[in-house]
C-alpha cells in the first residue's frame, strides 16, 4: 500500500527519529581538566551527550544510574536477599562491581541488602568451551563478601554448587538439550531456552532463599527484547520483558534490571575504568552462530544494531516506548502455564482469523456446501484447553513430540 | 548430435522488470549439459541480465524477501525453492510486492 502521509503513520515520516549520528563505541580518552571537578586527569571520559569528565566523576555518574533505578521506585526493601546473575558478559561484571561498591560504602549511601552470585554455565547447551574456572574463582576472591555459586543450564536446581566445590560435569546429556533438539526452528529454541533459563534462575533463588534477582540487561538489550517480544506475539506481556521489575517468577521472586538505563558506551567505559575482564563476548548467546537470518531473535538483534548505527536515537526511542507500555495484568485472570504471562481471556479477532483461515483452507471450494459452521470450528480450536498463551503455543506447535512443560 | 539445450521462459511483473532492463518476458536457451537449479539460474541472471541495483532483487544467495517466485504458475515454496531443477519449457515468473500499491 502506498502510504503517503498515511494517517496511522504520521505526516512527517519518521523525520524526528532520523537524526543521523554515529555512536562511537571505541574508547577515546584524552588528557585534560574534568569539566565537573576541574581536576587534571590523563584520561577524560567523554560520553555522547556529556562533557568530558575524569574517572571518578564518570564512575559516580554511572553508579548513580544503578542506584537511581533501585531507589526511585523504592523497589528493593531494606535488607532484601538478592541473587545476582552472572553470565560472564561485560554487563554482568559491571552489575557485580556496582553492587559491590554500593555495599562497601560506609556512609548513609550504603545499599542494604544481602547478595549472592550465581554463575549460569551455558556451555553444554551452547556447545562452547567451558568458562575458565580460574577466572571465575578470581572474581569470587575479588568480590569476596559475596558467596559464589555455579549452576549448569538444564541441570536440576539442586545440583547447584559453591564455586570452590564446582567442577564441570562431563555428562552433556540433560533433558533441556533433548527438548531443544526436538524443536524444529531456532526461533522456538531460543524462545524456549529464555524461559527455561528464567525458571532455573528462579529455582536457584528459592533454594538460596532470595527474594530478588538482579539481571544485567542494558538499554539495547531491552529495546531488542521489546521488538522480539512483539514479533513473537508476546505484546501483552512485553512490558514485563523490558521493565525494571518483572514479577512473573514463581514463589514471589522478583526479577530486577537495575542496569536498564545504561548504554553500551557506559558499559565499555566502566569496564575500562575498573579494569574488568569479561569472560564472554555478548554475541556468544545461544544460536547466534547460525547467523542473522536464522531466527526472529537474531534478525531483530541485527536490525536494532544496524539501525542504531545509522540513527543514533533508535535504541533510546524504542526503549522509551517500552517505558510507556504496561503489562496486561489482572490478578483474577489465569496465567500461561509456561511463561506465566497473563492470559488474554477476551476473544481476539486476530487469533480467530488465524484459526478461521485454517478451517477454510481445510474446506477449500466445498466450504459453502459442507454446511459446517466454520466460525464455530475456529472458535473451538481457539478455546484454551492447554493453558498456554499464543506465543507458547507456537513453541508447542514446533515440538516434534512430547509436551512443552 | 548438437549441444543439448535447455529452453525456459523468464517473466517479470509488478515492477520486478524494472531491474531487468524493463523487459517483461525473455526466452532463454541455457546450456543443457549442466543441471540448472533456481539457485544456478539466479547466479546466471545476476551475471547476465540484472542491470539495476542487484540488492533490490537478491539478498545473500536467494531472491530478496518480498519478491514472489512462481514456476509454471506454482509457488516456488512448494517446489523446493532454490533447489528446484529446471525442466525444458519451464516458465519462471518473478512478481515484486515491494512496489507501490
Amino acid at each position: 500500500m502506498c502510504s503517503i502521509g498515511e494517517d496511522d503513520f504520521g505526516d512527517d515520516g519518521a523525520a524526528h527519529a532520523m537524526a543521523v549520528e554515529s555512536l562511537p563505541l571505541g574508547i577515546v580518552l584524552s588528557p585534560g581538566n574534568c569539566s565537573k571537578c576541574d581536576v587534571n586527569s590523563d584520561e577524560l571520559y567523554k560520553l555522547n551527550f556529556r562533557t568530558a569528565e575524569c574517572r571518578e566523576c564518570f564512575l559516580a555518574y554511572a553508579r548513580h544510574k544503578f542506584r537511581a533505578a533501585l531507589g526511585a521506585a523504592k523497589i528493593l526493601p531494606r535488607n532484601a536477599e538478592v541473587l545476582l546473575v552472572l553470565d560472564g558478559s561485560a554487563e554482568s561484571l559491571v552489575l557485580l562491581d556496582m553492587l559491590h561498591f554500593a555495599q562497601t560504602q560506609n556512609t548513609f549511601k550504603r545499599l542494604h541488602c544481602n547478595a549472592r552470585v550465581v554463575y549460569v554455565e551455558e556451555q553444554q547447551v551452547q556447545g562452547r568451551d567451558p568458562v575458565h574456572l580460574e577466572a571465575l574463582q578470581n572474581l569470587s576472591t575479588q568480590y569476596a563478601p559475596f558467596d559464589f555459586y555455579v549452576i549448569e543450564l538444564g541441570a536440576l536446581p539442586s545440583s547447584m554448587q559453591r564455586i570452590k566445590d564446582y567442577s564441570p560435569s562431563l555428562n552433556a546429556n540433560n533433558e533441556l538439550i533433548h527438548k531443544l533438539q526436538k524443536l524444529r526452528s531456532l526461533t522456538a529454541r531460543q524462545d524456549y531456552l529464555q524461559q527455561q533459563r528464567k525458571n532455573l534462575i528462579c529455582s536457584v533463588a528459592q533454594c538460596l532463599r532470595c527474594t530478588h534477582v538482579f539481571e544485567s540487561n542494558i538499554s539495547v538489550d531491552l529495546a531488542t527484547q521489546l521488538l522480539t517480544a512483539i514479533a513473537l506475539g508476546r505484546g501483552g506481556s512485553a512490558a514485563l520483558d523490558v521493565a525494571l521489575l518483572d514479577d512473573r517468577l514463581s514463589g514471589d521472586v522478583k526479577l530486577l534490571r537495575p542496569l536498564k538505563d545504561l548504554n553500551e558506551q557506559e558499559i565499555q567505559f566502566y569496564i575500562h575504568a575498573q579494569r574488568l575482564k569479561p569472560l564472554f563476548q555478548k554475541g556468544s548467546r545461544y544460536g547466534r552462530e547460525h547467523g542473522q537470518t536464522a531466527s526472529l531473535q537474531n534478525l531483530t538483534s541485527a536490525f536494532v544494531a544496524n539501525l542504531q548505527q545509522n540513527y543514533a536515537s533508535t535504541v533510546s526511542t524504542v526503549f522509551r516506548t517500552g517505558d510507556k507500555i504496561a503489562a496486561n495484568s489482572n490478578p483474577e485472570q489465569s496465567s500461561c502455564v509456561h511463561c506465566r504471562s497473563t492470559l488474554d481471556t477476551e476473544l481476539s479477532d486476530t487469533l480467530l482469523a488465524i484459526e478461521y483461515s485454517r478451517s477454510v483452507s481445510e474446506a477449500g471450494v466445498s466450504l459453502y456446501k459442507s454446511g459446517q459452521d466454520l466460525e464455530d470450528l475456529a472458535k473451538k480450536r481457539l478455546e484454551n484447553k492447554d493453558g498456554l498463551c499464543h506465543a507458547c503455543r507456537a513453541i508447542q506447535a514446533e515440538l516434534d513430540s512430547g509436551n512443552l512443560l | 548430435m548438437g549441444t543439448p539445450e535447455l529452453k525456459i521462459i523468464l517473466e517479470f511483473s509488478a515492477g520486478a522488470e524494472l531491474l531487468f532492463g524493463n523487459i517483461k518476458r525473455r526466452e532463454l536457451t541455457l546450456d543443457g549439459n549442466q543441471k540448472w537449479t533456481i539457485s544456478n539460474l539466479l547466479k546466471w541472471m545476476h551475471a547476465n541480465i540484472l542491470t539495476e541495483r542487484p540488492e533490490l532483487f537478491l539478498q545473500e544467495d536467494t531472491v530478496r524477501p518480498g519478491i514472489l517466485v512462481l514456476i509454471n504458475d506454482t509457488d516456488w515454496e512448494l517446489l523446493g525453492e532454490l533447489d528446484y531443477e529446471l525442466q525444458p519449457n519451464d516458465n519462471v515468473l518473478f512478481i515484486s510486492t515491494l512496489h507501490g500499491g
Binding site: A14, D344 | L78
Partner: protein, 329 residues
Amino acid sequence: MPIICKSQCGNRAALKRPKTGDALCKECFFAAFEAEIHHTISSSNLFRRGEKVAVAASGGKDSTVLAHVLKLLNERHNYGLELVLLSIDEGITGYRDDSLETVKQNRDDYQMPLKILSYEELYGWTMDRILPRSDALDRGAKLLGVDSIATGHNADDIAETVLMNVLRGDTARLRRCTSIRTGGGEDTIPRVKPLKYSYEKEIVMYAHYKKLVYFSTECVFAPNAYRGHARAFLKDLEKVRPSVIMDIIYSGEQLRFKDTVKKPERGTCTRCGFVSSQQPCKACVLLEGLNRGLPKLGIGKKSKGERMIAKQNQELALRERANLVKNDF
C-alpha cells in the same frame, strides 16, 4: 512429488499460504481468500445494509483486489451496499496518469461509479506531496456523501505500522493503528480495512491468478528510508516465520499503555470543522502557508511555523505603518 491441496479436493496445490502454511490449489485458494474477507467483514460488522461505501482506489494491487472482492461479496452474500470508487488525483506527475488509467479500468471492470477528485477541486491548489492523502480522502468522501471509506491496508501494512510506531515511540498511533475501524465519531467518516487479515503475498497471488490489472510502478513518494528499513525487516522476519505478520498485529492489539501516557485528544478544526488533533488542522495551516506565500508552513515544527507567521505579521505591520506614514503626508 507434487503437493496436493490441503482441502483434499485432489488437485495439485498452487501456493503455500503464509498465515497457516497450508498448501491450496487455485480454486480452493480463491474460495478461502474470499471467505476470509467475508468473515472479517461480517464478524466485525464493518458495513450495514443500504450503506454507501467508497473504495479508496489508487490503481494499485491492494485497492484493485479490494474493489474486486467487495463487489463479488456484495453480490454473493447480499450485503446490500452501494459501492463507489473514490480516487484522489494528487497531481503527481507521471504517477497520476497511469494510476488513474488503472482506476478507470477498475470502474469499467467492476461497473462501479468512479469519482476522481483532484487536489485543486478540494483545496484550490495542486499540491504535490504536502498534504496527507488521508485528509483528502475524508473531504472527498464527504462530498460524495458516503457512509464509510474502505481502504486497502493489508496485514503486512498493519504489522509494518506497528513496528514503525514502536520504533518511533508513537503510542498515540500504536493505540489505533491495529483497529479495523477508525474514525466514525461526530463529523468523521469511518474508515474500515477489510483486508486487515489478508497477506500481501496472497493479495498479489490472487490478483495474478485472477488476471486483475493493477498498476505497479514505484510511487515517486516511495517510503522514506526509515520506513524502508522497517519494511525490509518485516519481510526478513516473514521469511523466517511467515505467521509473524499476524503475531505482530496480535501483539499490537495486546499492548496496554500506562495511565500516565497522554492520550491524544481529537477535536475539530476551528477553521474548517474537520476532525483534527491539531488546532488549526494541518490542511488549514498548509493552505494558509500557500496563501501567505510561506509554503514551508506546516511542514516543520509547529513552533517554527508560529515564528514564521509572527515574523511575517510583524513585517506586514511595519509595512502598513510605513504606508500610513506615507499617506499622512
